[in-house]
């Protein structure tokens, strides 16, 4: 009996660090909020935010029809350079690839543009060579570690996978039963995730899979109207609950880990957030659209 108790105690101690530092115990600590560009012009309903493993922070300042480039290093924010070009209005989603190129989805024209790291227009991402049906409407897009571009095409009900140059590679049709997909994520292993804002469900497709299947059942209990999804390096899934003004975290297998933040106007609170980005350092950048600011948090255990 005593021996059995000792074994049980040993096992408990063995697994203690795992449970103590799993995402279940994660909290978001507010670090800073971004309100202005370098000239002191305020942000207006920003919907897009992207970060990379270095120091770059890109903001899609949606209602101001522009992008803003910041450097966030050692908890200090620098610059806030404006990129305003005729090819871009209403940027609703932004991304950066490994070469520092900037991508933005124009919410009005519903086209993705590619900019140089300095912010000059390079090209449209028009999915060259896409098979029939050739028409596509991007609701969102993501770029993986190898610079492949994934487009959430709501018009033809599929995810288009493009090579780094923007040429069509393959497509994955949406699953049969779904409500409406508002965002997609691609994790560090190349697995794809879709967030269904109506059913409050996450769908999954393995790296080379040609179909999606449900990863979770309805998460309505935790989510009101989810419109953004991303993952961190470890594969933890972060979902933006737009109407519920919070962030819900799931493990790789889709199990619920927790919910962070709530609705409000003061710093540290959200008001209809849209996109979220997490870097390797555990810094979380949230496009706090309704509060016309970007909020930066640190993931703490």
């Amino acid at each position: 009996m005593i021996e059995a108790f000792k074994i049980l105690l040993f096992i408990s101690l063995l697994f203690f660090p795992i449970s103590a530092f799993s995402a279940g115990g994660v909290k978001f600590k507010h670090i800073q909020s971004v309100y202005f560009d370098e000239k002191g012009i305020g942000l207006k309903e920003p919907e897009g935010v992207a970060c990379n493993e270095k120091t770059l922070l890109i903001v899609g300042d949606t209602a101001n029809d522009r992008l803003l480039l910041y450097n966030f290093q050692e908890r200090s924010l620098k610059a806030g350079m404006e990129i305003k070009i005729p090819q871009l209005s209403n940027p609703i989603r932004v991304q950066i690839n490994s070469r520092g190129e900037i991508f933005a989805l124009d919410g009005k024209k519903r086209r993705i543009i590619r900019l140089s790291p300095e912010g000059t227009f390079k090209s449209y991402v028009d999915a060259e060579g896409v098979p029939s049906p050739s028409a596509f409407v991007p609701r969102s897009f993501k770029i993986d570690v190898d610079d492949h571009i994934y487009i959430l095409d709501i018009f033809s009900g599929r995810v288009l996978v493009l090579n780094p140059e923007g040429k069509y590679q393959r497509q994955i049709p949406f699953p049969k039963e779904y409500g409406f997909f508002s965002d997609l994520a691609v994790d560090s292993r190349g697995n794809l995730l879709l967030i269904d804002c109506i059913k409050a469900m996450v769908f999954f497709a393995g790296k080379d899979s040609n179909s999606f299947s449900p990863l979770t059942k309805s998460l309505r209990e935790y989510l009101n109207f989810p419109t953004g999804i991303t993952t961190d390096r470890r594969g933890t899934i972060y979902i933006v609950d737009e109407n519920g003004s919070g962030i819900v975290m799931l493990s790789q297998d889709g199990s619920f880990l927790g919910r962070q933040l709530s609705m409000g106007w003061n710093e540290g609170l959200l008001y209809y957030p849209t996109q979220v980005c997490i870097n390797e350092k555990g810094e979380v950048f949230i496009a706090d659209r309704g509060n016309s600011r970007i909020q930066i948090f640190m993931v703490v255990q």
Partner: protein, 441 residues
Amino acid sequence: MVLRFKWFFWPILIGSLLLVSLAYSQNKFRLKPDAKGKLCLSCHDNFKEKLKKQFVHTPVKSGECSECHNPHAASHGKLLDEDANKICFKCHENIVSKNPKSTHKVVSEGNCVKCHDPHASNNKFTLLKTGNELCFDCHKNIASAVAKVKFRHNPVEKGCINCHDPHASAKAGHLLKDDLVALCISCHRPDRPNFVKQHMNYPVAKSDCSSCHDAHGSDKGGILFDNVHIPVANKVCNQCHEGPTSPDPLKTKKAGFELCRGCHSSMMNDTFNKNRVHWPLLDKVGCLNCHEPHASSQKKLLRGEMKSLCGKCHSDTLERQEKLAAMEQQEKVAAKGKQEKTSIAHNPVQEGNCSACHSPHASDIGFLVNRPSILELCGTCHEWQKHTSHPIGEKIIDSRNRNLTLQCLSCHRSHGTGNRQMIPFPTITDLCVQCHKQFKR
């Protein structure tokens, strides 16, 4: 010998117990021979009249009052032996088939007495009323619609049960006796020349009849729904579909919104010139997410009433409205008729008039609101200048956030919060001290 005893003992014991239990259940109150219902009627003599009715419930007829009632004491009203909502299922357990596609709400609630008299009636199946009169007692909307329509559907006139099963349906929704199409073509044979002609030679035998026709009747010929899409009314199906002799005649000529753009180009151009488009308009289904392509009972060919239509996707908003309405009702009861000055819920939202504030196709500003600013939007109903002396407007910065100016949504949430005046905090003080921190206690 011992073995033999064991062999016979158990069957005999079980058999005896069964016999005793059967005897007990047959006369569990040990009534005197020939007593039964007669004994009850010696006091409940008003039942004698009832028993003269044409159709008498079998246990009543055989005087087995104790099948349902306990003559001594019971935990349920009317000395019922079981909960009133469950007692009928003791005998009528198969009234609802296994895994039904739809069940009548009164049946699932066990509210059988809504339709049946448990003792006797002059109507078959001891129904309270005959024919449609019984159904129309609850389904008043259908009753009034059916009474008014110019073109009536014969089976409706004859009786709802021509198409509906009053208890449950194992085959279809809406308590339909069969799959909708199968039900329709059992009378309307699709190979008849007139049928083919009326449907412009399109092979519609497997199509959903209710996408054009109102089975309860309508003011339009062919009992089409009252609002008919012009190409359907003009019988030019090939304006949207491939020709009737093509390999795939029911296929639409274009996908999604692109099909509708052909005729509705002006509206579409306006929509796509806005900063924000309602995303479902751009998906695979496009306009048909909200509009019927052929005919509808709703104006603008909407797929349903706006509340349920918008609520289909925005269920979080709809659920909140239901909670708020219940809360409002509870508080009204608690206030014992005293009129509250302010409400918990916003009227247009409660009524499902979403387009009072939102533009369903597109808008230049957030939340697809249909005015250039929130102040202007709220001002269409509320004279906010008179509502408050608090500074408000484009020039007044919100002290909580430098990028926001003060407007109605700085203090109120238009879809309600559960607090009076739709404020996001339990009390007005809690709200005010968000900015006026010096007064915080």
